[in-house]
Every structure is written in C-alpha cells, then in structure tokens.
C-alpha cells in the first residue's frame, strides 16, 4: 500500500522494478529498500525466531534489530531494511543454519 498524495512530501513517480521473493515475482520501485518493497507487497513475515520459530516482522528499519535479515542473491543475513532493491534481485527468507551452543 502506497501513499496516494501527501500534504508535505512529493513521492515522484519512480521506475518500477521486478524482483522475486521466495520464488514469487513481485514489483517495487527504484529507491525502495528491499524491506519497504516487501511491506508494500503485503509481506508481513520477514524471518523466524531461532528456537521457537515465531514469525518476525519488520521492526526498526535502521539496521539494529535483525528481524528483517534475509538471503539476497545467495548472500545470507542481509539487512533488507538498509539494502536498496535492484532489478531481478532474488530475495529469500534466511536459510542460514543456526547453531546453538547450550
């Protein structure tokens, strides 16, 4: 969902770009972070908690919380809130194996 019109800001019409999320084709705009494009496409769950696998959404948007980490073009643990979307990016929920030492 995008802002239609805004009393203070001008959201200039930007170029549409395609990317894939867990194999599904989606669209975002030049200048979007991956996370912003995903929220716009209705994606709410960004990752899962390590032990209980609870769904985690987008939380801080400035690179602190780690909730939005995903695998992007094969690279794991990418902060999608700080990474700009690029044409044909392959975005996947993180598959990094987590090793917990008790």
């Amino acid at each position: 969902m995008r802002v239609d019109e805004h009393p203070i800001l001008d959201f200039k019409h930007k170029e549409k770009i395609a990317f894939s999320y867990n194999g599904k084709k989606m669209f975002g705009y030049v200048g979007d972070t991956i996370a912003a494009a995903l929220v716009d496409n209705g994606v709410m769950q960004f990752s899962k908690s390590v032990i209980h696998e609870r769904p985690r959404g987008f939380y801080c948007a400035i690179g602190n919380c780690g909730s939005c980490n995903m695998t992007v073009n094969g690279i794991e643990n990418v902060k999608t809130c700080l990474t700009l979307l690029e044409e044909n990016m392959i975005v996947e929920s993180d598959k990094a194996e987590v090793i917990i030492n008790d």
Partner: protein, 360 residues
C-alpha cells in the same frame, strides 16, 4: 591499513555537524555511515523543528538534512556509505564492513555519533508481525511512501509517538488511539493538541497487555494501570488494528564505545549506557570523542550543537584551531544551555549531572 586524520562514525545531525566544523578548522574528515544515505533520522522528519534560528527552527527536518549534507559536500568530506563500523580498537583503529568486505582504518581522532535505537516493550506476543517501532513506520511512510497498515494504535506519548501519529494521519492512515502508561502526556502539549483536535483519543494510565493475531497483528488488548503502575483487573479493552507502533523511548547506541572500553555509566535519564566525557566531549579513550544521542537522548537540535562542539574540540586537540574558535565555543555552549534550560530540559540536566556536566 588506511590512515585518516579525523574519522566520524555516523552521518546523522551530530556527525554531519561535527564534519562541517572540523573541516572548517582545516581537518581532513572521513565519515562512515551504515545506511545508503546521509542525514540519519532527519530524512524522515516532515515536521518543522523547534528551537531557535541557529538550530534551524521552523525548517522541516527533511530540509535540515539537505542543508547539512550540502555543507559536507562543500567541505570535501570523504563519505563512506553502506559502511558499518563494527569495531573500535586501541590506538584509534576501527574496522569497517562495506560491500561484504572488512577493512581497517587508523585515525588521529575519532568522533562517535552513532545515535540511538528504539526501545522495546514487554507484553504477550510483542513480536507479532505488524508491531513496529514508531521510527520504523516513519521510515516506511515518509521515505518510501509505503503504509504500515490501515488502522494503527500508538504506544507512548513522547514527542516521537505524538509526531509519528500525526504523520500517519497526514499519510492517510487512521490512528485509532494513543496509549500512555504514565498519568500525563510525555511530549510537547502542542503536538498532543494537534492530534486531539483531529479526534485521536489519548488514553493515559494505560498500556498494552497483549497482542492477538494469527501470524500477524489483528487486535490488541489494553489494560489500565494504577498509580503504582500495576494492572487494574477487569479494565482490559480490545482495539482492532493491523499495526501497532511502539514509541517508548530511545537508548544510546553505545556498543562501539563499550567495545573500546570507554568509561561508561548507566543513566536512566539519558536513556541507557553513556560515556563519561570531558567538557571537550572526549571520552576516557584519548582522541575518541562522542556527541549526539549516543551520549544521552535529546532532540536533534541539541545533537547538531553537540556535533559542532565535538568537531571544534577534536580539531583543536590536534592543533587545528577553527578561525572563529573563541566565539563559536562560547556561542555553542550557550545554545545548549538555552535548549536545556526549561522544564523540558529537566530530565537531561539531571542525567548530565550524573556524568559530571552541570547545567544550572
């Protein structure tokens, strides 16, 4: 190893202001910013700023960001974007992570202006997708033009909670309520009045008891609190909403300073762990300075002034005396005094006293 004269960590209001003044004093400045753009959180502040003219009062935060960024361009500050500083070591060495590579930088002086992060709140299901930091929602809607939901509840009535609620309405989102655990509004009353006259219910002595939803937020349950902050049984109420914004304060991003073994103190009034610093803003690590929210949570107006002082002092200690050193030093300290003088500054004055700074 790369060598630099002055390294500034963080490209928000404090870091950019420090870069400007240190450059004017004749230093070569390298600024490291983990995001893809400069400006820090200013780039999503669509409201006009408070303060006085010297802190750009009545100019919108987004425009202040442009002004500060242009200054760094004018002064030839070397900018590293998408560059996260992940380590601070002895002898003023930092490790930077950029483009999936790590590299080390050695500096004659370092200014840490890392800012702050949003605090979280403990309640059942507080990790449900749809629960956001208020600042995250501001990023989403004011930078990217993406809306977090259709019906939002805000938790916390500090300035961020009040301002973001108003900005949600400006972006076309319904704000169903603003809940505040304390018995009174925390932020500026003028911000609260703006919301109230648009019909937003500001509910004090109330907090979120639990979030409910299947895989994503569908509703919240609020509960009233008594004078001792205890839940009042039977006072639960359900509010349907698809987004919840948490705005319960910020805490300084102290990690680099802690890693560098700087003398730190936990000061509740300043938001968390802060460095003990001299009146020249130098931490206990020689030639490592700190300014802005990382030294205590305040408004961006103060962060800009602090940044200028840190830039002035870091330069002076290495023999770079700003052409207007004397007048600037006096004027900047006076500006901070004034910004912290009134009742709104009481908390910060109290906090700064604990780390040895007196504002009375």
């Amino acid at each position: 190893m790369i060598e630099k004269e002055l390294v500034i960590i963080g490209g928000g209001p404090a870091g950019l202001s420090a870069a400007k003044v240190a450059s004017e004093a004749g230093m070569k400045v390298a600024l490291f910013e983990r995001s893809f753009s400069l400006g820090g959180q200013l780039i999503k502040q669509t409201h006009k700023f408070f303060g006085s003219e010297s802190q750009y009062a009545r100019v919108r935060g987004i425009e202040i960001a442009d002004i500060l960024i242009n200054e760094t361009r004018k002064h030839d500050v070397e900018i590293f974007l998408n560059a996260t500083v992940v380590g601070l070591y002895k002898d003023n060495i930092i490790t930077v992570y950029q483009d999936e590579k790590y590299f080390k930088v050695k500096a004659k002086a370092i200014i840490i202006a890392t800012g702050a992060s949003e605090k979280f709140l403990a309640f059942e299901n507080n990790d449900l997708p749809g629960i956001y930091g208020a600042g995250a929602v501001q990023t989403l809607m004011n930078i990217h033009g993406v809306l977090p939901g259709k019906e939002v509840v805000m938790v916390g009535s500090g300035n961020i909670g009040l301002i973001v609620s108003y900005q949600l309405i400006q972006a076309g989102v319904k704000v169903k309520a603003l809940v505040e655990a304390a018995g009174h509004i925390g932020g500026y009353l003028v911000h609260a009045s703006k919301l109230r006259r648009l019909g937003v219910d500001i509910i004090t002595n109330t907090t979120v008891k639990r979030a409910v939803g299947n895989g994503k937020l569908e509703r919240i349950v609020t509960v009233k609190l008594d004078d001792k902050w205890q839940e009042i049984e039977g006072s639960e109420e359900v509010i349907e909403c698809d987004a919840l914004c948490i705005s319960v304060g910020l805490s300084p991003l102290h990690q680099l300073l802690s890693m560098g073994n700087a003398n730190m103190l936990y000061v509740n009034e300043l938001g968390g762990l802060v460095p003990i610093k001299t009146c020249d803003y130098e931490t206990s690590i020689p030639h490592v300075y700190a300014c802005g929210d990382v030294t205590g949570i305040e408004e961006a107006s103060s962060a800009m002034v602090e940044g200028k002082i840190a830039g002035l002092m870091a330069a002076k200690h290495l023999g770079f005396i700003h052409p207007n050193y004397d007048s600037l030093e006096a004027e900047l300290n006076q500006q901070l005094c004034v910004l912290r003088q009134g009742p709104c500054g009481e908390k910060i004055r109290c906090g700064l006293k604990k780390v040895g700074e007196i504002y009375d």
